[in-house]
Symmetry: C3
Subunit: 140 residues, 3 copies
């Protein structure tokens, strides 16, 4: 009898614990910002979005990831006209991601990309996975 | 012993209750509609999206919020060419939101904006927060 | 007493079971891809996104739905220049959806649409419902 009750109490503790840890996880904000246009105005808007979110929420309270794919990949090339802002965003903790599929299609090598950019196999999959992890989606 | 069982039963009731209330919360629909283009065709499309969602789901079953920022802010200026539709949408319960950061950048005062618009400090943060609250995201 | 304990154990089994089935549900990926631009480059990008997601995640691990509305409806007309790719995407399990509201507005009959397309009353509502079901949102 005592064993049964002990098992029940332990199970309850586990369940309650998992609920609490879930609630804890929702304390911070997360967002993925998609760039898929070949338009420097959009690139600057994406970078403004990231900066404004950090200023408003506090850098430590928001995880941000900018993902460029398709025609947006030009934002992350070595000679990108927003290169300075990319470096600054990375320094501020924003993750910058380039789509490997797009790079392959455009015959871009890692050395052709801005050093702030991390390469993933497929940008679209990264965006799907991040949303599943609770990231909000923003497409400027 | 009876005390232990009473605690267990009460804990179970609490857990089951929280699951039920969670299920209850999912009964209604919520969506945030982002406008970040300076394009009246997009503004009308956003307003059509809101109207169609209300017609299809029933006004009382869907909470809608249109958020304009960046180049989309012109949709919410006093002289906006969709001003009549903004007033109508607000009357139908759609929340209309202007980005304070964009207003500051364009030196727009509250008096420069359409009276249907509510001002928030940062449009992008509003969009992130709403998604965290379970709002769907639509960018026409 | 034994009855009370039996009820508690059964309740626990139910709760634990529901959590496990919830975790099970999250094993697969789901995404809705919105097309609302009258731009064949965007249509091809949307179809590339679907193909890349299937290649990277495995067809059986990702449910994809492409929804066209507003000016994007032209993607799904009978004479669409991406007609061959639509048929191929459907064969690969991608659900292709046309917005009935847009069709009505443009006086399009079901016979005017590509046979790969399924028609829903309101595209925007389909997108809202899918996100509520846990689909990620992608707008190429």
């Amino acid at each position: 009898m005592k064993t049964v009750i002990a098992i029940i109490v332990m199970s309850l503790a586990l369940i309650v614990g998992s609920q609490v840890s879930f609630a804890g996880e929702t304390a911070g904000y997360k967002a993925v910002i998609q760039v898929s246009d070949n338009d420097p105005a959009k690139w600057n808007l994406a970078l403004n979005n990231a900066r404004n979110a950090q200023q408003e929420l506090g850098k430590e309270n928001v995880q941000l990831e900018i993902i460029a794919y398709g025609p947006g990949i030009n934002m992350l090339k070595l000679e990108s006209e927003v290169g300075g802002r990319l470096a600054e965003a990375k320094d501020n903790g924003v993750v910058i991601v380039a789509c490997g599929n797009t790079m392959k299609g455009q015959k871009l090598a890692p050395g052709d990309m801005h050093p702030a950019a991390k390469i993933v196999p497929a940008g679209v999959v990264e965006i799907i996975k991040r949303q599943k992890e609770g990231y909000a989606y923003i497409r400027p």
